[in-house]
Point group: C2
Chain length 380, copies 2
């Protein structure tokens, strides 16, 4: 009896009411019902972004939102800092380069977060830096960046802080207004528990001022058009109506739980997973691990790809492997979105049995026991 | 008992098996099942595009595909012809302008198609024209353009023909290979009977040669990345997995019917609708009407907006009104995608009763009778 479990850091499991909402006959995107839907979604997103700024959405994956941030915020000849500590930091750099922006990269060893001091030194040496591009949770390594510390550096300077919160939003704390983050980009298929196809972006007033000056070419990802339409529950182009319907269902879940509780839940699940990893005699790859996903360093004698294929083919369990230089070397277990304690227990228990089956000796049961202990320590 | 009917030229009704496929738990976009899904979808799209060229897809609405065509095919300083005969011809011009391309517009009175002779004269006067941007079905007016005639002009010249077939694909004939069309852009939520969020694009070899030379900035809409990934059933960025699942179901319908029969069905439905319009003493707005949508000129004494609101609010029937300069002056009834004779009868019958209710005198029953006569004349 194979039964599928999805533990990848996106797409993440979709609540059943959201799945069923998408199976309803489709509505016209200019209908009053859709206007109400869009307004409700954008209002509830503000809660998740922890901001009073209005949020805009685009019909694209998160990378489209990232391109939009580059094309709408920057101008020809701009110089920016890009923190590259994994695959998604590299993506910021690639997009900037594609648009002719001069980048000053900060290359961080994969598995580590950037030292805010490094950013501060560069900012002081280069007062003409237009923006710092950072990543909340670097999904490829499971590392959490200290966005609050970075915002402390940028908010007193004429430098924008532009954050990829694609996987981290709704799992790792990100206080847009309190911290003074200028731009946040995220998308539907991670903490927002919705199928892929929607990007969501929030900008503060400093960021909108930069948008007014930007001279890079853009059309589909034009933030001003998306923003002004969105305020009226409208869209410049046909949006992914079914995905908006699903997103509304998912946002209702976060809204009812409250974003602080949502983040606290992810924090518990991540702590339990890390505790299990240690109890099994293994180690977490990330030096500063995120709530979003736990990256586990595999023993050298374990073939990571074979392990992941075994779990998927024989048991229907999808873990994510390592990307690029980490291929075959780590396993990433997401605890992200529509997940709770029971999902984490399944993830760990299957992980234990899989390692034993592939011939690696671990103290079976120690992982789930450690996780149970962590769960017991919290007050519900 | 209000019962919804959607007669807009996008989104169009979704087959029930496609709706239910989207309600299944979501799959990982790097899974083998998704690889198989993507390959199957791209293969079946070739049938719909009537081409041997491989098709690529993007997670965006059709406008994203249009921007991709501009950003991937053209270079700085290029000069292009844009046929503007409605809102979507204007969109080509707007995108080109946003990317700094020099346009020579051909402005056609709304409701008419371009005269190929006009294009030929311009091409002869300007041998350095890089591309002609055209629209198969101009959705805002219901006009069909003679793409075959335009291709006859471009295929013997070093000029690309780039066609917006967003609403027309699968309803109006478009023989990419036989006619020699260089680039076709379309999307999911029209003839392809899938919710919005996917754009589909096909390029021939001449077009790919232009892509190699293009120097305009692009990242998310990079055609080469989408194309080479797609050949292996992969994607550069997380795609709209649920929409691909729905698209597969919808493509199975077209594949089983056969694209020529699909187009013939749309042709019958359009002919019946036009015949009904005339029998009611009204006229079709488009001089060369498309199979996709029929635009009906309303009598001056009928308030088009009030009529459309009445039908929607009281009866749950969504017709599309006029856009921009045609607002309130026309009604557009789509017969597009997952529709057959019975849907058209409902569209016409409700239209008749609505006109009577709003106080305009028409020979009730004459429309549906005329449509029935047209259907009887076809051999099934």
């Amino acid at each position: 009896m194979k039964k599928k479990w999805l533990f990848t850091p996106g797409p993440t499991p979709i609540p059943s009411e959201a799945l069923l909402a998408m199976a309803q006959p489709i509505d016209y995107h200019r209908s009053e019902d859709t206007v109400t839907l869009i307004k409700d979604v954008l209002t509830k997103l503000k809660h998740v972004f922890q901001t009073e700024n209005d949020v805009l959405f685009l019909t694209s994956s998160g990378t489209g939102g990232m391109e939009g941030a580059v094309a709408n915020l920057l101008s020809r000849g701009d110089k920016v800092i890009v923190i590259r500590s994994g695959k998604f930091g590299e993506r910021w750099a690639d997009i900037c380069t594609a648009f002719g922006i001069q980048i000053i990269p900060i290359d961080v060893t994969w598995g580590n977060a950037v030292e805010p001091q490094t950013v501060e030194t560069l900012l002081t040496e280069n007062p003409d830096i237009k923006a710092v591009f950072a990543t909340l949770c670097e999904t490829s390594t499971g590392v959490l960046h200290d966005i609050e510390a970075l915002a402390r550096l940028t908010r007193t300077r004429p430098t924008l802080l532009i954050v990829d919160a694609v996987s981290g939003l709704g799992a790792d704390d990100l206080q847009m207004d309190n911290w003074g983050v200028d731009v946040i980009v995220s998308c539907a298929q991670k903490g927002l528990m919705t199928p892929p196809g929607l990007a969501v972006v929030a900008l503060n007033q400093r960021a909108w001022d930069a948008v007014e000056c930007s001279d890079l070419p853009k059309y589909y990802f034009d933030f001003r058009k998306a923003y002004t339409s969105g305020l009226e529950g409208s869209v410049p182009y046909t949006p992914a109506v079914t995905l908006l319907t699903a997103l509304q269902c998912a946002l209702n879940r976060i809204y009812e739980e409250g974003i602080h509780n949502t983040i606290a839940r992810h924090s518990r699940l991540a702590a339990a997973t890390r505790s299990a990893v240690k109890a099994l005699g293994l180690s977490v790859f990330a030096a500063s691990p995120a709530n979003t996903v736990t990256s586990i360093r595999l023993p050298e004698e374990v073939d990571g790809k074979a392990f992941i294929n075994l779990m998927l083919d024989k048991y229907g369990i999808t873990y994510a492997g390592g990307q690029s230089q980490l291929s075959g070397k780590i396993v990433r277990i997401a605890h992200l979105g529509w997940v709770n304690e029971n999902d984490v227990i399944v993830a760990i228990a299957a992980f234990e049995r899989g390692l034993v089956e592939i011939g690696y000796d671990i103290p079976i049961g120690a992982g789930v026991t450690a996780a149970q202990e962590v769960f017991r320590s919290f007050k519900y």
